[in-house]
Symmetry: C2
Subunit: 169 residues, 2 copies
Amino acid sequence: MQIPACYDDAMSRKYPEQVVLVIARDSTGKCNPMAAGWVMIASSQPPMMAVALGTARHTLEAIGHSREFVISFPGEGMAEDTLYYGTVSGRDEDKLAVRRARTQSAEKIECVLLSDAVASFECALEGEMPAGDHVIVVGRVVASHVNSDAGLRRLFNLGERNLQPLPVR
Amino acid sequence: MQIPACYDDAMSRKYPEQVVLVIARDSTGKCNPMAAGWVMIASSQPPMMAVALGTARHTLEAIGHSREFVISFPGEGMAEDTLYYGTVSGRDEDKLAVRRARTQSAEKIECVLLSDAVASFECALEGEMPAGDHVIVVGRVVASHVNSDAGLRRLFNLGERNLQPLPVR
């Protein structure tokens, strides 16, 4: 039976939640990764993805500037990096340098890919829509990549900053 | 290392993917559930959720009519129902009647809740944004519910129509 609950209690039943990294080039030319869980596929043809970004986020400002970004599925070895990318602002630090992240150039946009990701999607900004204290950013996927290790698993958020790979199939 | 891939191959690394049911009242007054995986939280304050619906979907038409909908997290006993709700159109069948689904009235909107869901969110339509062959529908959460069984697990899509609960924490 369904019983009334406050929103936060009801939403705490969502886990495990996916986690992605959104990488965007800011106005200083620095590529900055941010962890995000509020992301979805938005279209099949052409392929598009959407991510909800807080209105005050450095990443939202960066995408407004460069009008392109990468969405990465972090690999199972990236839990500590991903927590860091989700708690520190790119306004304050060069996050990829601090974490000595392994990167490589994107193919179709001026950005970087994380070499240890499970998959990466290069996106061209297609549109934005305000939603409360966030903005929904929609990107058209212009290039896709996978890890050369086909068995690498994605990280998911099991709640309370506990990032783990999950079994598939 | 990241290596170029076609979009479908890269996106096949996404699993496990969440699955929700979107329930909307159509112009005949019938409440119709549809399975969807392309859904996210879009705002904290006020709480909002977004779901991408194919432009031809009965559910998109129904939401355009009633301007409100429910998002449900299906419970672990609902795998067969959820697959059915994802493959049959509400234009052709009264899906809740066919499955003899246990329902109860929503609290703030004219719709139904699925009694066996893990959690349910009643939403008032806030806005829509076209995205390729889909439309992103944004709803403001006006009431939330949880199952009286606090241990009930959510279903996830492990790929190839394999819906399973997953471990949390």
